[in-house]
């Protein structure tokens, strides 16, 4: 293959397309929309961030403002966690709109994360989210198809392909040249979007330390690969098609199938095959398990009575009142440990079911580059499923720590004489509220995210290899007339 010929064809295609009147309009429109989305998304992100920090601060303030009181009161006062968004959610908001934003953490009880944006929105929400990634994932492919569908067929229809061939250019070189030309045109569209991505990662560095630049780099590489593959597909299909009409129809049909129908169907089928438990069943499962293992809230529970007797024996006393620590606090800490474990078990099961539901989509990434880029982009932008479940795990961990902290205080400082947590009698100093650490949310590390996306990344290399093979191998059997 002669490189200079490829470059010549590439240049010719680029120039011809670049100076067509349609492209200018399209590019201008695209850039206007891109600018709007970026500015708007950024503004929304900053606003949301501000709202979250404001409320988180306010929440902590009222936590710390609690006077001296019984620690169990604080265990139920509880704390709220408002979920912080990853800065790259400006680029790709992933499942952000559908995940809960506020979760209440108190003793004995796990709450759901509530107030997702979608739950407060009208049915229009379900048409989709507005972000830069949507432009790159759904719209730009269409633009590439529109620009490239006639790349070969028009030469065939004009009879120029024959001329090029007779002059000694191999079809392989034509294909590569056209692909490169189309890719350069596509670059006019995606480079500004990547610039938006990079400016986010350079300006938002103060928010988290989670390797923003590295993430942006990986996202950029993935998108460049994705678009290159799409350009190859477009040119190959144009080459295989009899005429421009058929080429356009094939590409559009492919878009509809690969970008809309398959992703939706895959997820729906996944959910049908692996239905998850309803909330009522979920709670019932936990309750049954608690009843089986012993209910610390039931004063006649045999398991906990056995525990009490052994504690009494070990401390050589006959009544819990004579124990050297607060028995109520002890009982609650045991109960908490037990229910937290049961809950974690059930929650893990639920998450596993969700993962099974997603598994069909996740395995299709090998066949569908759109699903691959969608998953990679979401994962690296910290807005995917794993980031969210990780958030839930972190909040539960904090909830457990907070509850046990209060139980410890009760064991240590509350007398066994205390009958209720009311009044100013059995209390602990308020300094203890201040000394409990704040909830510190950490995004999933880059290496963990990448582990989930290996298949998707692999799919790009496979597609790329297949494209190159098709272009070099099959192009020789090309019909030029």
């Amino acid at each position: 293959m002669r490189i200079n010929l490829v470059i010549l064809i590439c240049k010719q295609f680029f120039k011809k397309t670049f100076f067509s009147k349609g492209l200018f309009v399209l590019l201008t429109l695209f850039l206007i929309v891109l600018t709007y989305i970026t500015v708007n998304g950024w503004y929304t992100f900053e606003e949301h961030h501000h709202v979250v920090e404001h409320h988180q601060g306010k929440e902590r303030q009222s936590w710390e403002a609690n006077p001296d009181k019984h620690p169990h009161r604080m265990a139920h006062f509880g704390s709220f966690v408002f979920r912080i968004q990853h800065p790259l959610s400006i680029f790709d908001s992933g499942i952000e709109s559908y995940t809960g934003n506020a979760i209440f953490l108190e003793a004995h009880k796990q709450h759901t994360a509530n107030f997702s944006e979608a739950s407060l929105s009208t049915g229009l929400m379900r048409f989709g989210d507005l972000n830069i990634a949507i432009l790159l994932q759904l719209v730009l492919p269409l633009i590439i198809f529109f620009i490239g569908y006639a790349s070969i067929t028009s030469e065939k229809e004009n009879g120029t392909l024959k001329v090029i061939y007779i002059q000694g250019t191999s079809i392989k070189e034509v294909l590569f040249g056209k692909t490169l030309g189309l890719f350069l045109i596509a670059a006019l569209f995606f480079i500004p979007a990547l610039i938006a991505l990079w400016s986010i990662s350079f300006i938002e560095t103060h928010t988290v330390n989670s390797a923003l630049v590295l993430r942006a780099l990986l996202i950029s590489i993935s998108y460049v690969l994705f678009f290159f593959i799409l350009c190859c597909i477009t040119v190959i299909i144009s080459g295989k098609s009899e005429n421009s009409n058929k080429s356009l129809l094939t590409l559009l049909g492919g878009w509809l199938l690969f970008f809309i129908i398959i992703p939706k169907t895959a997820q729906v089928v996944g959910n049908s095959i692996y239905p998850n438990v309803s909330k009522i069943e979920f709670k019932a499962n936990i309750e049954n398990e608690v009843l089986k293992q012993g209910d610390s809230h039931d004063p006649n529970d045999p398991q906990f009575n056995k525990l009490r007797d052994s504690i009494l024996k070990a401390n050589n006393v006959s009544d819990t009142k004579d124990l050297p620590f607060n028995y109520g606090g002890f009982l609650m800490s045991k109960g908490e440990a037990q229910t937290a474990k049961i809950y974690a078990n059930q929650h893990n099961k639920l998450i596993k079911t969700y993962q099974k539901q997603n598994s069909i989509t996740n395995s299709l990434v090998l066949f569908n580059p759109y699903l691959a880029i969608k998953n990679i982009s979401m994962g690296l932008s910290g807005t995917d499923f794993n980031t969210y479940t990780n958030f839930l795990v972190q909040t539960e961990k904090y909830r457990y720590m907070q509850s046990q902290y209060m139980n410890d205080l009760q064991m240590k400082y509350i007398s066994n004489e205390a009958k209720s947590s009311e009044g100013k009698v059995h209390i602990v100093k308020s300094d203890y509220w201040k000394s409990i650490p704040k909830f510190n949310y950490e995004f999933v590390s880059l290496s963990k995210t990448l582990k989930h996306q290996i298949l998707a990344l692999l799919s790009f290399s496979i597609w790329l290899a297949i494209m190159l093979i098709i272009m070099t191998k099959f192009s020789n059997h090309f019909k030029i007339i």
């Binding site: 708007n40 606003e47 709202v51 409320h55 929440e59 009222s62 609690n66 006077p67 009161r73 139920h76 006062f77 509880g78 709220f80 408002f82 992933g94 499942i95 559908y98 809960g100 934003n101 209440f104 759901t112 994360a113 509530n114 107030f115 997702s116 944006e117 739950s119 407060l120 929105s121 009208t122 049915g123 229009l124 929400m125 379900r126 048409f127 989709g128 507005l130 009409n245 356009l248 559009l252 509809l256 809309i260 129908i261 939706k264 169907t265 997820q267 729906v268 959910n271 049908s272 239905p275 309803s278 909330k279 009522i280 069943e281 979920f282 969700y354 539901q357 499923f385 009311e422 009044g423």
Partner: protein
Amino acid sequence: MYNLLIKQFFRSKTVWLAFGIIMVLGILSIGTGKQFVIQKEEAIAKTIEKQEEHIKRQVKLHENHIGLLLYYLKFSFINPVEPLSAISIGQSDLNSHIQNVKILNLEGQKYDTDLVNPMRLQVGNLDLSFLIIFLFPLVIIALNFNVLSEEIEKGTWKMVTLQGISPFKFLIMKLGIRILFICLVLGVLFLLSKLILDIPFNTDFINIIIISYLYIFFWFSLCFFVILLRKSSNTNAITLLASWLLLVVFLPVLVNNYIINKYPVDEAFTMTIKQRDEYHKRWDTDKKETMDKFYKHYPQFKKYKLQEEGFSWLWYYAMQQMGDDESQHEKEDMYSKIKNREQLSSQIAQFFPPLQVQLAMNTIANTSLTNHVDFLNETTNFHEKIRLQFYPKIFENQKASAVNWEVYKPEFFISTANFSWIKNILPMTLITIVLIGFAVFRNFRYFN
């Protein structure tokens, strides 16, 4: 003539492909809807069964402490699932249709969500409404974009005009076959969903059918309009696809984004903090002040006086009540923001048939945000009713056995939402008529 045109129509591969895709996805979508409804109904059945068991167990555990018993007891309030919701799942997969509430502070309880895979929520549902709104227009476009231009490009149009029949009539006949075909396909899907989903043949179902057909006619009129601009097949395809992209993909997303940003519901956070703080701070403040507020809200309970020292359930429930009472303001702010979102959505939707159809279908199927907000408000009333029944019993420290627990079965929400015909159907019909009228008017001279 008709015979030949029909034969020609069914010879095209596009027709069979479109038919195949619609049928496969149609059956899948009805299946999804069915599964959705079944899952929700199973949850309801389980709730009813659980509540009885739950009350029995708790009553046994805390027989002599009705104050403590009511701290544990949960009462269910259920938003029933309409068979129609299988056609338009709407927002009902996001929001819980079952409320389990204790008579404690309600605002901390009623926003709990269901367990749904967020990935599924993001990808969205494949229900019949999606098929109608998203895919039918594409099929209509695929069948119609070259109805006239193909004849012109192949040179057959001249032959048609030479036949002596009105070319306009000929075009209408060709379109008529396509309209009939699509209407039949849609009819089959509705019939299937009626049979599979056991949808009663009532006004709601008819409304959904009528809206769907009007929407289909809107897309035909748009195609008709574009065809009669007499451009090439390629231009027609691109114009129609661009309109589809704009109307079904971009505008909805843009509109929704605009609405969300215009009315951010930060009050949800403020409210949720406030309802906690207002209850909890009462543990440390003057009991008399709490009780005065409580008596002011419920003068009928003034006769129950607070004991001087120690813990009492009267005081405890008064404190809980403060969580709700004192966060009223924030709650109202939050609801008014949601209302703003709804209003703006439906206002903008009037001008864009896809948005209009989606919102209208959700409203009819009781799966809209409005329906959920109504359900939440009715939950408040339900909660208040139960509260008022138990407050005197607790304050008098009645025995739990004295209460007739049989009465406490889960209750169902009855939606009173009404569907406005004029608002929903008039704008879309007008747009359709204007498009057809304009196309005919422009081409008057060709067809005379």
